[in-house]
């Protein structure tokens, strides 16, 4: 049982408010990811939970107990730092068992525990080495091991993978996911990488400018972004946005004029009025190159072949550039004119304040289990 509850948390550094009122409920065993652009306050928030930063106002509850003024080590947390922050003068085993040493655990017992954790993380042959003699991935494991040794109620991870190269990052991501599954402990993870957020989280908290933009499961954020910021942040490559003008509003569908002269009908609640400006959002994977039924024409600026898919950067009327995902073997070249089909059912619509306009029918997040077979 380890829950973390934030109630109206604020943080002010000499007149500048960094965190502007965060309410969050983290359940036992959840893997929560704080994600957002740099400077959004995600690391500060994590450090406030850790006790490394003071909380200006609001309540931090861990397992129902107010922790605002409890020192870091008594909160039952363990933290993995972005720079690993290993003790360079200690061996791997000493690094991992340092908290036990401080707690007065006898040497033999400490080593036993370090060995046990070393086994889980495949660090056994390295226990007597110093951090300087380890690779980046191994150091990262030691940092995780140091957290594991303490048997914490909650793991805090501050961009733990950002110092690793791409391949290793993928591997470590998998290991972290496995670790979470096998331990079942609550984890709070900070990253600016939306792929890490999507792949690891049970619950993603999207932050911007010290406020929460949206909280939800990864697929929920992907399909039902609450506003334009979340829509643009989640998903890779990012969602395309086009400025549009409302030309007709009915109960179950709204028709919009795109730059150029094309129009798209989107099944959303009738909250706009005719003539309103809005933003149409459409993911690259929802766009199609379609010669029979084109919505608009565009000119290819850049072609990115990824193997299985190809991304086209297409300049359309009005000067906007759309990213279009197509099959990997499509014969295309820079300068080609391509017809693009926009399916209104797959579009998102945002009002002038960048808030999403609810759709008539909610997209199913995943297929029903029975359909999977």
């Amino acid at each position: 049982m380890s829950t973390v509850v934030l109630k109206d948390i604020h943080k002010t550094y000499t007149d500048t408010e960094i965190i502007k009122g965060i309410d969050l409920d983290i359940k036992d065993g959840e893997f929560v990811v704080f994600v957002g652009p740099s400077g959004c306050g995600k690391s500060t928030l994590l450090r406030m939970i850790a006790g490394l930063e003071d909380i200006t106002s609001g309540d931090l509850m861990i397992d129902g107990e107010r922790m605002n003024n409890v020192p870091p080590d008594e909160r039952g947390l363990a933290m993995v730092f972005q720079t690993y922050a290993l003790y360079p003068h200690m061996t791997v085993a000493e690094n991992m068992a340092f908290s036990l040493r401080l707690a007065g655990v006898p040497k033999a017992k400490r080593y036993e525990r370090a060995k046990e954790v070393g086994r889980i993380l495949q660090l056994e042959p390295l226990l007597d080495r110093k951090p300087g003699a380890l690779s980046g991935g191994q150091r990262q494991r030691v940092a995780i091991g140091r957290a594991l040794v303490r048997n914490p109620k909650v793991f805090l991870l501050d961009e733990p993978l950002s110092n690793l190269d791409a391949t290793l990052r993928g591997d470590m991501r998998l290991e972290l996911a496995n670790l979470h599954n096998s331990l079942g402990s609550t984890m709070i993870y900070v990253t600016h990488d939306q792929i890490e957020a999507m792949t690891l989280a049970n619950k993603i908290v999207v932050l911007q400018g010290g406020v929460i933009e949206q909280i939800g499961e990864p697929m929920e954020l992907y399909h039902h972004p609450r506003n334009r910021f979340v829509a643009g942040f989640i998903g890779s490559p990012k969602m395309n946005f086009l400025s549009v003008k409302t030309i007709s509003v009915q109960d179950s569908q709204t028709t919009l004029r795109l730059p150029g002269d094309a129009s798209v009908t989107v099944p959303v609640q009738p909250t706009l009025s005719v003539g309103d400006r809005a933003t149409l959002g459409i993911r690259p994977e929802s766009l199609r190159v379609d010669a029979i039924n084109p919505t608009l024409m565009g000119e290819i600026l850049v072609v990115e072949h990824l193997g299985d898919v190809t991304y086209l950067y297409v300049k359309v009327a009005g000067g906007d550039t759309l990213i279009v995902e197509t099959e990997g073997n499509r014969p295309v070249a820079v300068g080609d004119r391509v017809p693009i089909y926009i399916d209104g059912n797959l579009c998102h619509l945002f009002d002038a304040d960048d808030n999403a306009i609810p759709k008539i029918q909610q997209q199913h997040l995943t297929l029903e289990k029975t359909n999977e077979r």
Partner: protein
């Protein structure tokens, strides 16, 4: 391209040797003079080849008890260094990791005290020493040396502490370290090369200090700098004896510096190359 680079480094090497020789020459000359007779010591042109004699060393030891002075130097240098470190480590810890708005100006102010000419405070210090009975005592000298070296010692340790990544200290706080445990188990081991070189520097500065030792001591607490000074006299032949005394006075610190050279250089360039 490679050729000019090679020639450049060769030239720099030559220059370095030249500078080193110029710096070393007085010491070399003092050393050989100490083995000359007084007459040979002042001969013109100066003699590079002569029959060495130990009579100066015997004379020097007969006139003054070298070991008394040397022992005072050792006690005072080490004592002042230990005291300075004991005061500087907590001060630097606070300034490096819990800085306030005034930390920078405090540091500058400390350094500025080094700019005051010592002679400016000679009279008050002398009177204070006399009134408190600390004149010509080792503890009196230790206090003075601690105070004059403290700004440099604090500055150096402060900059070494600044090199320690903040996250490592946060990690130990998460691991449950108290301030004392943090300093002893994490910070000091990490900053050890820096602290060692600071200590070396403090020992060397204390060992070589002459102004206060000459003015505040007579015999009981007089260190080697006073020992050398006692061999300069306004008349008569004294160069060879003075050289012998000087050689004896600088030999310990020279050997000390030589053996710890690696540590010293590493400490002084600590953090320069990451």
């Amino acid at each position: 391209m490679a050729n000019t680079q090679k020639r450049g480094s060769w030239l720099i090497g030559l220059l370095a040797w030249l500078v080193a020789c110029i710096l070393f020459f007085p010491i070399f000359w003092m050393f050989i003079t100490s083995f000359k007779t007084e007459v040979a010591a002042v001969a013109t042109p100066p003699q590079l080849f002569f029959t060495p004699t130990l009579e100066n060393y015997i004379d020097v030891q007969a006139r003054a008890d070298y070991f008394n002075y040397a022992w005072n130097s050792v006690i005072v240098s080490l004592g002042a260094t230990v005291f300075a470190l004991l005061l500087a480590v907590p001060a630097a810890y606070a300034m490096a990791f819990f800085p306030t708005k005034r930390t920078k100006s405090t540091l500058l102010w400390m350094l500025s005290t080094k700019m005051l000419p010592s002679v400016g405070v000679l009279v008050p210090i002398y009177i204070l020493g006399r009134e408190s009975g600390l004149l010509d005592t080792r503890i009196g000298l230790i206090i003075i040396y601690t105070l004059i070296n403290l700004p440099i010692v604090v500055w150096m340790i402060y900059s070494f502490f600044k090199e320690v990544p903040k996250e490592i200290l946060e990690a130990d706080r998460m691991d449950g370290a108290t301030t004392y445990q943090e300093v002893v188990y994490v910070l000091l081991p990490l900053a050890l090369p820096g602290i060692a070189s600071t200590a070396l520097l403090s020992v060397i500065l204390s060992w070589n200090e002459a102004f206060w030792s000459l003015n505040l001591t007579t015999f009981d607490a007089a260190p080697l700098t006073a020992f050398i000074a006692s061999f300069s006299s306004p008349q008569g032949l004294f160069w060879a004896k003075l050289s012998a005394a000087s050689t004896l006075a600088i030999a310990p610190i020279l050997l000390f510096g030589w053996f710890s050279q690696k540590q010293l250089v590493r400490g002084l360039t600590f953090g320069a190359v990451k």
